[in-house]
Symmetry: C2
Subunit: 225 residues, 2 copies
């Protein structure tokens, strides 16, 4: 008898997509530390799959700059955190994400606001409990539930790529300063602006929310070198 059980068709997610998500989560939550090397076969063994779908996932992640490929020996590693990289990512986020919020404002309806209130409550819960993983998950969900309403696929995808690259930085912040690094967010301001279909207000609120977080990350990175 084979140990390999065939996947049901109803599971529409391809293996390489599951592997992609697994590695992505491992990167964002910091389970794979920045700077260390990984290998296709070790990842494959860890996830219980063949190296093939890992290869696909890694190719995708390196195209998104969430993984680095050493051009000399072609070996994989997690990009290390530098102040310069953080600055560029911050600047890009500070342009693109307020823009998405502003574009979403005219399309904000009751359903969106309800969903955002739920997600914001989850963020607050995580803040109270000091649960970093839950905070990052809920915060991500809040921002992208909002951005998705902008109807701007290209910009939305760019924002997704930026979060993927910034993930490890967030983890470093919380790892260094502890859960105390989690502070109140500007989500309430953003939701009020959305309710009023105030594009510029939403833009400002998101910009302020981002700027706070990025400042904390910058301080953590500069302190930790």
């Amino acid at each position: 008898m084979s140990t390999h059980t065939r996947k049901p068709l109803a599971d529409s997610l391809a293996v390489h997509d599951q592997v992609y998500e697994a590695i992505r989560q491992a990167l964002i939550t910091g389970r794979i530390a920045p700077g260390v090397g990984v290998s296709l076969r070790s990842l494959a063994a860890e996830l219980g799959v063949s190296p093939m779908p890992v290869r696909d996932a890694v190719r995708r992640l390196s195209a998104e700059r969430a993984l680095e490929i050493n051009p000399a020996n072609k070996r994989l590693s997690v990009p290390s955190l530098t102040a310069n990289r953080l600055d560029q990512l911050s600047q890009a986020r500070l342009w693109i994400e307020p823009e998405l919020a502003a574009r979403a404002a005219p399309h904000a309806d009751a359903a969106l606001l309800k969903r955002l209130r739920e997600l914001d409550a989850a963020v607050d819960d995580a803040l109270k409990l000091g649960d970093v993983d839950a905070y990052m998950t809920a915060n991500h969900a809040f921002h992208f539930a909002l951005y998705a309403r902008a109807g701007a696929e290209v910009l939305l995808a760019m924002a997704g790529g930026l979060w993927l690259q910034i993930g490890p930085f967030m983890r470093v912040v919380f790892g260094r300063v502890g859960a105390d690094g989690l502070v109140a967010d500007r989500h309430a301001e953003a939701m009020e602006a959305l309710k009023a279909h105030d594009a510029e207000g939403a833009r400002r609120a998101v910009a302020a929310d981002l700027a706070e977080g990025m400042d904390k990350m910058r301080a953590a990175v500069e302190a930790g070198r």
Copy 2:
């Protein structure tokens, strides 16, 4: 189709990288028209390689949104050109590329200016001859020779992804209006600003250069639907 000769080891470029470049060029120059479907095996046969490196290249290109994967049947296709997509790409370029030019200005030296003059001459030659391929190649080289001096790897990579996505649009413009669509550029203004280390001047010059081209593309896309 070329006969398949074994590659020497000194050729350090992996096959999947060559395939990536080949498909990338085919996309940018419009040899693969937007909207049509492609397949791994057909691409592999066309390039004289096995489907394996094509798979890697395609995975990379789809992560960069230069290729689309139909989520239902997983089939590949070239993204079609819509006014909405063009708007988003334009806006992103108009933020990121002037920023790169401004960052490069302080680091502009004689070597860079010499290189830029050569590339600008190549652009002018292509304009005179109406050679669209040569124009796009030289124009790309000019912009990225400049941007590379900004010392901003993350932003540079983002700009590269945007050009890859905008490539097919350029081809449509020239295909519709002919080589007459090629007009004088703002490269001279940019180079003067660089020589003076005038960051804001470089920013404005690049922004003007881009805006002109993007306006033409928008007109072509709107006229052609």
